[in-house]
């Protein structure tokens, strides 16, 4: 705080604090508190609110415990989000390494631009583009049929496949950037030293690059996991009758069933369990909060 004050003076420091405070209090904390409050109340019509029936209850939380289908979807969402995170990591690590160590400055800038351009388009539109690409009568199927590789179109959008492809694509940057930042700070001499001493490429990555990039990998994984578990647009557009994401159930409680209280309880449970999952993973990987903030 004093460092901030010394650096920017009273005016700018005040502005920075006011804006941050506004964001944290009005856009994060108060809506969350309101949601938690909703989640502990029964679903009443507007006229009954504040009346004798408007009491605190755990009934909305009991619903999830009682509903086997929702429990299964909840677990599937956690599992599938982890799968998305792992796939994104596998796709992004080579890109990030190449960007950070394998290119000249100009090439890196060009590659970064190519990675960024698709993200100038709205996420919904990008996801919708995937829907068109993968659709039964879409360009991919048409091309494969025209080339004679398949006889009948394939239903790519069945099961969770479409959702996972869409998410990996949507969250690439959130994984590439932190890993790139971490690997870039690695002294190239270390890699060359390892090579001179006869280490295989695998061993160099395992013993030198990955340990150095661990905080970046952790940040990327946490962001991707949170985004995947909380994504609504991708499963709504790329999902199939066989895939149901937990966020879709939350949406359905709010917008189809009109039961905001139940929806709030589900949303709060998702938030809590995601946080729990992340702290669990951090502990397993022996990464502290301080490593991530680096």
């Amino acid at each position: 705080m004093t460092a901030l004050y010394r650096r920017y003076g009273p005016g700018l420091t005040g502005l920075i604090l006011a804006l941050t405070g506004f964001w944290i209090i009005f856009l994060v904390t108060l809506p969350q508190l309101d949601m938690v409050d909703y989640s502990f109340r029964p679903n009443l019509s507007m006229s009954e609110r504040g009346g004798p029936n408007d009491v605190y209850t755990l009934q909305n939380y009991a619903t999830l415990a009682d509903n086997a289908i929702h429990r299964a979807i909840f677990l599937k969402t956690i599992w599938a989000s982890a799968l998305v995170t792992l796939t994104t990591l596998i796709v992004c690590y080579p890109i990030a390494y190449h960007l950070a160590q394998g290119t000249t400055r100009r090439q890196a800038a060009l590659l970064m631009l190519l990675l960024l351009i698709p993200f100038w388009i709205n996420e919904i539109l990008r996801t919708f583009a995937w829907w068109i690409l993968l659709a039964y009568a879409g360009p991919l199927n048409n091309m494969l049929v025209a080339l004679g590789l398949i006889e009948r179109p394939i239903r790519f959008l069945s099961g969770d496949g479409g959702v996972i492809v869409g998410m990996v694509y949507a969250y690439i940057l959130f994984m590439v950037m932190p890993i790139y930042n971490a690997i870039e700070s690695l002294d190239r001499n270390q890699i060359e030293a390892a090579r001179d001493l006869g280490a295989s490429p695998w061993r160099i990555h395992w013993r030198v690059v990955i340990p150095h990039a661990k905080p970046g990998i952790a940040v990327g994984c946490i962001m991707t996991f949170m985004l995947a578990a909380g994504s609504y647009a991708v499963p709504a557009l790329l999902g199939s009758p066989g895939s149901r994401w937990f966020t879709q159930i939350i949406y359905s409680w709010f917008f189809e069933g009109g039961n905001w209280n139940q929806g709030s309880a589900y949303a709060f449970i998702l938030l809590l369990l995601c946080i729990g999952f992340i702290f669990g993973v951090m502990r397993l990987a022996r990464i502290g909060l301080a490593d991530i903030a680096k």
């Binding site: 309101d34 409050d37 507007m46 659709a135 159930i249 917008f255 189809e256 069933g257 009109g258």
Partner: protein, 383 residues
Amino acid sequence: MRKTNAVLAATPAVTRRAVLKTGAALSLAVAAPAIVSRQALSSSGEVRVYAWAGYFSDTMLADFQKKTGIKPVRVEFGSNEEQINQIRANQGKGFDLAMPTIDRVPSYVKDGLVRPLDESKVKWDAVIDGNLRGADQGGGMVDGKRYVAPTDWGTEALTFDVKQAPLQYGTASYGDLWKPEYQGMVTLRGHSGLVGIGLYLQDAGKLPHSMKEAFADPDKMVANYDIILKTAIENKKSIAQFWTNENEAQGAFRTNGCVIGQTWDSTGARLKAEGMPIGYIAPKEGALAWIEGFAMLSGAENIAQAYEFINWYYTPEVGAMYANETKINTTVKGAEKHLEAFNRDFFAAAYPGDALGKLWSWPIQNEWFITKRNEYQEKFLAA
């Protein structure tokens, strides 16, 4: 496309908790300049309409502005659920007119989201008598007060590919969706798909109660819906895609390889109008019929302008413009003279013989029904 909750996010937080009231007051203070300038605009003549996606085109709104000098503001939604929950979030404010389906209007009234119409200010003579009566009886009139000025009516029935899944009136049935040859090529909406299955089972004598009774009595609903859900889940492998709005329903046929589905009339009509080999027909169990119309929100600010909008709509030219554009049926008298031949032909092909007499009007859907219905839909979707 599904709307993001821009309005919801832009509205200052309104909460029931005292602890949050300060927050609301503060954020209101921050938003004050925006609110003041909006009022300044409204005094110069503005009407804010919350409408179904695709119902009021730019051309139509320009026509309204030219004739009345009032600036129309249009915000769109894709389903009744989206509509009522958005209006609930705004507590009846933010728009002057909304467009609920009449069977949902009693819920709006119960929550105090709409206000009765001033009967003397609407040109009721311009409305087809049967439609007005239908709207009043179907939920548009509550405790003797009229809440809805009906704009249009339409149905949900069978849309089919004329080559790959040809259907004939008289034999066409909701049960056709589940024929083995269409497996993996069917689209429908979760909750209304269950009603379609219900009507099919009712005709086959497999339900303990009639479907109308299921909408009125929770026990009868559960008895019926348990059987319906079982049939639905057994046949789920037939479904290629669930739709929730017009755009998704069209997409199912356009690019997702569906050849048969239970959709709105507008879906079948708009695809056919583009030259696709698509037909739309009422099944023998009866097409699901709805009426919708303008309702005035309790927090409406531009009341005189809103009545101008309703009365502008109640002219044959505008009614026809609306029907030609949306491909659904207007309630305005004399509009048929201005209808395109396509609309007339489509209507005749969709409801041949006794189909109009067999229409199955949506019963009033109370909140307990919506909640319960959603539970069944959820089980169907997740199975």
